[in-house]
């Protein structure tokens, strides 16, 4: 079976959880013998024919234009980064549209700010500038561009089924379905309702609904999300399947504790944005601090509410016990997990939420919002309404006061999530593919 897959993120192209979810899922699908032609928002018109599990790291690429492909094949690359740079896979997925200009400009600036003589401060100013230049204000334009390209993939590639992840790629999936006549599966990792904590952008909402209506099958990452799809998008329940996510972390040897603080360490890890409930975390921290001034709270990540949280945390006089890390790369995320005792996910609305699973894999005791999909797949974690800050604080206090219990629950959680594998999710997806195909063939003989 061969799948034409559209997604906006795939490592190293990552902004949020979508990229890591696609990575784990595709790797496992390949292991089941399913072939995937992956289309990303790249600068060049390419797709990635993935055949073996290892291909998710190698990312072999094919240019649709044969002349360009010949050029590409004959080009010598020193490493994968250089090759991906050639194709135009940037680490900022939303930037692919500015194409040459921004790329060239950024390169020119980089040359400037990577000189030896320049100070660290100046370098950071430049980096901030380039990050701002590559903003996402014209995301709809980029979606248009991506959608237009889908036509050629649909006509020129050979596949049995189309799989599109999240609204940014739904229009591309729909177009490909119309042109190829092959069935479409749309995968919901998050809806606008989750991101906005309410109705959100009506344009996005309508694109999401159109994608789900047009699709032959809808995969939701949780029961929680399926419920959301039914109530806010009025999609036929028969069309919806639930496939929970799994997670990928380093081997167990690299997951042993490596503390930063001698005292209890409580972690928030995720984008500092409304959806993730960082303000509830701060409120909880402020309550716990009164009882346990020795506890440290780490807010890891970046986001549009970072400054607000910084100021609020200072106003609450939490001393040097509420700290901010800024953006962390993958290695740093694991370092911070190794240093933590308690993980709190106070999301207002979390379709799934892979990070608690990662935290639990590190033996960190998790407190997760009831308004999350991940709450459906784990038992050895505390599940609390995101707004119930008192209970959240009481729970944290209880864990601080009973460190043995905290450790025990952490280890149980670790054992539990060690049984969660992408292979199981992939197997469910394979079954969905099969049934979609057979239903489709029945109705289109």
């Amino acid at each position: 079976m061969k799948v034409l897959m559209f997604t906006w993120e795939f490592p190293p192209l990552i902004a949020g959880g979508l990229g890591m979810a696609c990575y784990g899922m595709v790797r496992a699908l390949l292991g089941l013998g399913i072939k995937v032609d992956l289309v990303l928002p790249t600068k060049e018109l390419v797709y990635f024919p993935l055949r073996e599990p290892d291909d998710v790291d190698k990312l072999p690429a094919v240019f649709l234009d044969p002349k360009k492909h010949t050029e590409y094949i004959s080009h010598k690359f020193l490493n994968i980064e250089e090759r991906l740079d050639y194709i135009g896979v940037t680490v900022h997925p939303e930037t692919y549209l500015q194409l040459g200009e921004v790329q060239k400009f950024v390169k020119a600036i980089k040359k400037e700010y990577q000189r030896e003589s320049i100070t660290q401060e100046e370098r950071e100013i430049w980096e901030e500038l380039t990050a701002h230049l590559m903003g996402d204000e014209d995301i709809f334009k980029k979606v248009q561009e991506y959608t237009i390209r889908a036509e050629r993939f649909a006509r020129e590639l050979d596949f049995d089924l189309i799989h599109a992840h999240d609204w940014l790629t739904y229009p591309a999936g729909m177009l490909a379905r119309s042109i190829s006549g092959k069935p479409l599966v749309v995968h919901i990792h998050a809806t606008e309702y989750d991101r906005a904590g309410g109705p959100g952008n009506p344009r996005v909402h309508r694109i999401e609904r159109a994608g789900m209506m047009f699709a032959d099958k809808v995969i939701a990452v949780s029961q929680y999300t399926a419920q959301m799809v039914m109530s806010h998008y009025r999609i036929d329940t028969a069309k919806i399947s639930i496939v929970h996510n799994a997670f990928s972390v380093s081997d167990e040897y690299h997951r042993t504790k490596k503390r930063i603080f001698k005292g209890p360490t409580i972690l928030f890890l995720g984008r500092i944005t409304l959806q993730k409930g960082p303000d509830y975390f701060l409120e909880m921290a402020s309550k716990v601090h009164k009882v346990h001034p020795e506890a440290h709270f780490i807010m890891a990540g970046t986001g549009d509410m970072a400054r607000e949280l910084l100021y609020k945390s200072a106003a609450k006089k939490l001393g040097n016990k509420f700290l901010f890390t800024g953006f962390l790369n993958r290695q740093q995320v694991e370092d911070i997990l190794r240093a933590s005792d308690i993980f709190v996910l106070p999301s207002v609305s979390e379709p799934f939420g892979i990070s608690p699973l990662e935290a639990m894999a590190f033996g960190v005791t998790a407190i997760i919002s009831k308004q999350s999909g991940v709450a459906e797949v784990v038992n050895h974690a505390f599940k609390i309404d995101y707004w119930d800050v008192d209970l959240m604080a009481e729970t944290v206090n209880h864990l601080i006061e009973n460190p043995d219990l905290c450790r025990k629950i952490g280890l149980e959680g670790m054992e539990e999530v060690n049984k969660i594998h992408w292979n199981d999710s992939a197997e469910k997806i394979r079954q969905i593919y099969s049934s979609t195909l057979s239903e489709y063939l029945k109705s289109n003989p």
Partner: protein
């Protein structure tokens, strides 16, 4: 007579590295040695060496008639020793002339006076020892960090052997109709006060090269005429003191050599000394020259020389600043109790007022002086690095 009283502030903080939470507990040095040495070298070349040489020439030329005062912080002297010993030597050469007064202050240019009296007194004593060991000098005049002053400060300084005068800002809301040209007494009439004449001092320090300023360019002739006119309004032969207090880096660093600031300074004494009723004095001489009953002035609330508000808002107006400074002094208290000298030295370097100045959000958007002096992109970052340092310090203490 009207005496021009020059006092120059010489200070450099220990700027922090961009500390991350993941650096905590790894024994990382908090201070950005590369940046600090770079700045010290730059200021030495642009300001300290050329200005010291100029002042030395002037002192020699007008032997006894031209004099200036300096306040050198401990953190500046430490960094001179480490990165530009020739700068320290040239200050010593100046002091050796006998016409340069050195003022007393907190070793770390800190806000300890506002938060921890014992720590404040210790830092003042440390600075006193430093002046003695480096220059063989016993300061008689005190200036608190950024000219911060209120009544209770004078009580503390009065208790310290040897100080008889304090410098502060000539704040309008305190002076009201009075002139900053007189020397005053503190509220308890136990100590003398000299007040900065901020209009004229800031003409040199801030406006000298400002082309939008109607008085641009500021010539020596014009400036001395303004000074001369001040004496007309004062009567009965009373000795007056025009207190021109400013950052030493005004010369060559804030105002570049190209602005003509050095030429200005070179010709200024000559023009003053041409006029028989004008001269120079050092702060410690003022009270002896006061040929009148000094009026007592009360400062119930703290004042400073910073920003237009001339209060504490440059260091203590937002939640980040308050949380940071309160956390620091709690920590200093714990370290003092434990008696860990090594950690105390680090904590004291973190007590330098500049760290809180960098966190100021008052004018940050407008790109004003706070931004000019800050080594960080934003007050938020300054706060994040600082709190990471305090978190690490507390871990080391346990």
């Amino acid at each position: 007579m009207l005496y021009v009283v020059f006092y120059f502030q010489v200070h450099q903080p220990y700027r922090l590295r961009h500390l991350n939470v993941l650096d905590i507990g790894k024994g990382v040095d908090y201070f950005d040695e590369h940046l600090n040495s770079q700045i010290m070298r730059k200021v030495t070349e642009k300001c300290y060496l050329p200005t010291n040489k100029l002042l030395l020439d002037l002192i020699h030329r007008y032997e006894g008639q031209f004099k200036v005062a300096f306040s050198l912080t401990g953190t500046a002297i430490e960094q001179m020793k480490a990165y530009s010993p020739e700068a320290l030597d040239s200050f010593k050469e100046l002091v050796d002339t006998g016409y340069v007064e050195l003022l007393g202050e907190t070793y770390y240019h800190s806000l300890a006076f506002l938060f921890d009296t014992n720590e404040f007194l210790d830092q003042v004593a440390m600075h006193r020892d430093l002046m003695k060991s480096e220059f063989g000098y016993y300061p008689e005049t005190f200036r608190n960090t950024e000219l911060i002053y209120q009544d209770s400060l004078s009580d503390l300084i009065y208790e310290i052997e040897g100080f008889h005068t304090i410098l502060t800002e000539g704040v309008d809301r305190i002076l009201q109709w009075r002139s900053p040209l007189y020397t005053y007494k503190n509220y308890a009439k136990t100590i003398n006060l000299l007040l900065k004449y901020y209009q004229l001092a800031d003409d040199i320090a801030f406006r000298f090269s400002d082309r939008d300023w109607p008085e641009y360019p500021l010539t020596v002739d014009k400036f001395v005429n303004w000074i001369d006119r001040l004496t007309l309004s004062e009567k009965e032969g009373r000795n007056l003191f025009l207190n021109l207090f400013m950052d030493y880096e005004t010369f060559g660093e804030h105002q570049w050599a190209e602005t003509g600031i050095f030429d200005f300074m070179q010709h200024f004494p000559e023009e003053i000394l041409k006029r028989p009723h004008l001269g120079f004095a050092n702060p410690k001489e003022a009270y002896k020259l006061a040929n009148y009953q000094q009026e007592a002035l009360s400062f119930p609330e703290p004042v400073s020389w910073a920003d237009v508000e001339r209060d504490l808002s440059a260091w203590l107006s937002n939640d980040m600043q308050r949380n940071a400074i309160e956390t620091l002094y709690n920590l200093i208290n714990l370290i003092r109790q434990k008696g860990d000298e090594k950690l105390l030295e680090i904590a004291r370097k973190l007590s330098t007022s500049d760290h809180f100045y960098y966190m100021c959000t008052k004018y940050f958007q407008d790109g004003d002086v706070h931004k000019y002096f800050s080594p960080y992109d934003s007050p938020d970052q300054a706060y994040i690095y600082y709190m990471n340092a305090l978190a690490d310090l507390e871990e080391r203490l346990q």
